[in-house]
Symmetry: C2
Subunit: 87 residues, 2 copies
């Protein structure tokens, strides 16, 4: 991915990693299913958000570049595949 | 949550934690958006699955218990709230 969105992606992934570790600790400490589900749900949103940032980066970087280079069809197909992987 | 599903939940969360760390390393190593999205998508499924295990545990444990104790309405409302948090 491009270097200008990289620090944001790495920072979001570090936070998610810490959050997952925190939930594991909560489970081991015997916290309720309701508390755990709320945290799991927050992680799910955070994962979706980091995926969106990567997709945006892909769009800004590879898609613009591909279309400028006249590889319209191939570029659109690659973007579709990227969307498929994620959504 | 109940103790009999706890080892599974902790083990799944440990794997997710390691996976997130791995994706962070991939991003830092300059891997493509497409590769990162595929991994992000796998994490999203893993998070959904661990949430499902916690919901199942909630159902087997708290819901059965609540209905046995005649607290039908309250139990159903709590299960609905747990589903709402997650889905």
């Amino acid at each position: 991915m491009s270097s200008h969105r990289l620090p944001e992606v790495v920072s979001r992934l570090s936070k998610i990693e810490g959050h997952v570790r925190g939930i594991k600790k909560m489970a081991e400490d015997g916290r309720s299913c309701e508390e755990l589900l709320l945290q799991i749900s927050a992680i799910k949103s955070a994962i979706t958000n980091v995926g969106r940032v990567i997709l945006e980066d892909y769009l800004e970087d590879c898609v613009v570049d591909g279309i400028r280079k006249q590889s319209d069809r191939e570029t659109v197909e690659r973007m579709k595949k990227a969307l498929e992987k994620f959504i």
